[in-house]
Assembly symmetry: C2
Homo-oligomer: 366 residues x 2
């Protein structure tokens, strides 16, 4: 006899990418930033640790919200901090999705949205993207027409492409909300700054952001949502009172205030992204033009399973991803490698390893 | 038009105790530990901050779970760390409580359980305690008979009394689970160490623990649940992948490994608790014998609203609590002051202020 809700028994749970705890890996599988956070972040953590950890944190995260608000040109009551962007997505699903409410999202995309919808017992539909990662507007419109939530990462994962604000606005459900997951927003050539919130219909848009990627703070778990105060107010009822801790909030303020550090790392990653794309294409890979800190690569002759296994033998981790049930795709599956943009040295090591692996055999791998 | 789930629109949201962000307050309202965490905790945070914050934390919190397991004499797969005990309670409700499932809990007690049940759209029933904070076993049994979850804090808040393991075991729902919230367990004269898990029926018990209180780490947000691996496995599907951050996990390991520091502070708090109880009784208060780091005080002639307001004028915060809808209580309400055991100096300041306030008027306050 199970005591769990049937929804819980039914699902597998989301499987995050591999996180080896020992050093010695070239880790290009979970889109972490290869550069350390700002030294001002470390100083802020040390300072906060000397402070009053015996007391609860500020449940309203007043100072952090103020800094975010300034950066995105909104008032502080448009900001909801969370224990990582994941927690904000969880809060959003728990706030708005009741049993049988419909959640739609692009596919192939970030599969966590499905797990979160399942946890709520909601219905869910994939909005199948065209093979070139563009939308089929009429098909998407038919789906969003029924939806309570449309959740769209921009740039998309695993492809790394970015959609225009006009394309995104068009996805706002007429009787629901559009959630734009901008986890990778700072890596765009022209990063957005909450423009969607200020367009017509912007009061039905929620943007989620994380400090994990561009601010090099995946270990810290800090993100925030931006939305109209009417939405933030209700979402606040769902969150735990003290969901963000004293150290993270202090670190987050310092990170956001050192824009120069983040921008400089983002620029380095953009430059290395160009080299990675060029190198992969020279090796025969098809690569989507990326606006994120990763690229999506497929090879016309070699199976991604084999390539990733042989890279792992050399202690290089990339993310093998397979998206089944796609009409028109070979065997119905879109499969490929999502490769994080590491340092130049890591990318060189990867490209050299790929060259060796592909040259080892005359026939296709696998 | 609201986009929120009706359950969310209906509820108020849990209101935590006041958290003034400026110094200068004697803060006896949210049961924080007045002593700082172990210096080994600060050292561990500084060390972890120098480490690889750009990488995600260990999603399994392997090292932390190992240390907890040793302390409670269970295997590591009996342990689920969370972003504060609050998050574990949220995970438990989301794991087991479906719409219309019944959640029962003692009353007066920790009112957050009601909010969490409401968020899940579950049904809920208060198990009314006797005026002396004891159970009415036959009435409780009739309620747990129908319940999916019984949630019981031990020691109880706001009263601070502790129930025996036999009393708790008897509350296990025949077709559900017993959740024992041991947030204040380390302040008992004889702290428990997971004995309930090893008794008959222990596979249907979940114990939640926090590092906020006894380990002086409310600012850090770290707690853990202890339960049979079959329960932990399913609960893990509900939690966010990286719910605990690198700094907290490192700090948590250091805190748990410095048992001497925690025990010494807990002993000081127990000693001060005795002084506080004696002093309040000398001032005419009725005080429940406490096994926690707070005491519950009522005065036969003075209303708690007035006392807490006059204390606040003197920058002393205590927690005014009112529990309505209690058959047999005056006007149906149990009301009183929940006073955290601070340092000896803070308790002296409080007792002196109370003496002055009660002497200011000849008649009853309010």
């Amino acid at each position: 006899m199970s005591f769990f809700r049937p929804d819980i028994d039914r699902i597998e749970g989301y499987q995050p990418g591999e996180q080896p705890q020992e050093p010695g890996w070239v880790k290009l599988n979970t889109n972490e930033n290869p550069y350390p956070p700002s030294p001002r972040v470390i100083a802020a953590i040390n300072e906060a640790a000397k402070g009053r950890l015996n007391l609860y944190p500020d449940p309203l995260a007043t100072q952090f919200r103020r800094v975010v608000a300034r950066l995105f040109n909104v008032a502080p009551d448009w900001v909801l901090p969370a224990n990582g962007s994941d927690e904000n997505l969880t809060i959003i699903l728990r706030s708005f999705v009741d049993r049988q409410d419909l959640v739609v999202y692009p596919y192939p995309s970030y599969i966590l949205y499905e797990t979160l919808a399942d946890l709520q017992g909601g219905r869910r539909e994939r909005m199948i993207l065209n093979p070139d990662w563009s939308w089929n507007p009429s098909r998407a419109a038919a789906q969003t027409a029924q939806a309570k939530l449309a959740i769209v990462p921009n740039p998309n994962s695993p492809s790394g492409n970015r959609w225009s604000n006009a394309e995104l606005s068009a996805l706002t459900p007429p009787r629901g909300l559009l959630v734009v997951d901008e986890a990778y927003g700072d890596f765009c050539d022209e990063p957005h700054r909450g423009e969607l919130l200020r367009q017509p219909g912007g009061e039905r848009v929620i943007i989620t952001r994380t400090l994990s990627k561009s601010y090099s703070l995946a270990g810290l778990r800090l993100g925030f949502a931006l939305a109209h105060p009417d939405l933030i107010r209700g979402m606040r009822k769902v969150k735990d009172s003290y969901n963000c801790d004293t150290l993270s909030l202090a670190a987050g303020v310092a990170a956001l205030e050192d824009q120069a550090w983040m921008q400089s790392n983002a620029a380095r990653i953009r430059a290395t992204r160009g080299r990675l794309q060029t190198g992969l294409r020279a090796g025969g890979f098809a690569v989507v033009e990326s606006q994120a800190n990763f690229v999506w690569a497929t090879h016309p002759r070699h199976a991604p399973e084999q390539i990733s296994a042989r890279l792992k033998d050399r202690r290089i981790l990339v993310r093998l991803m397979k998206f089944p049930e796609i009409p028109g795709a070979p065997q119905g599956v879109v499969a490929g490698l999502r490769i994080t943009v590491g340092t130049d040295a890591e990318v060189d090591q990867l490209l050299q390893a790929l060259g060796e692996i592909l040259n080892e055999t005359t026939g296709p791998l696998g």
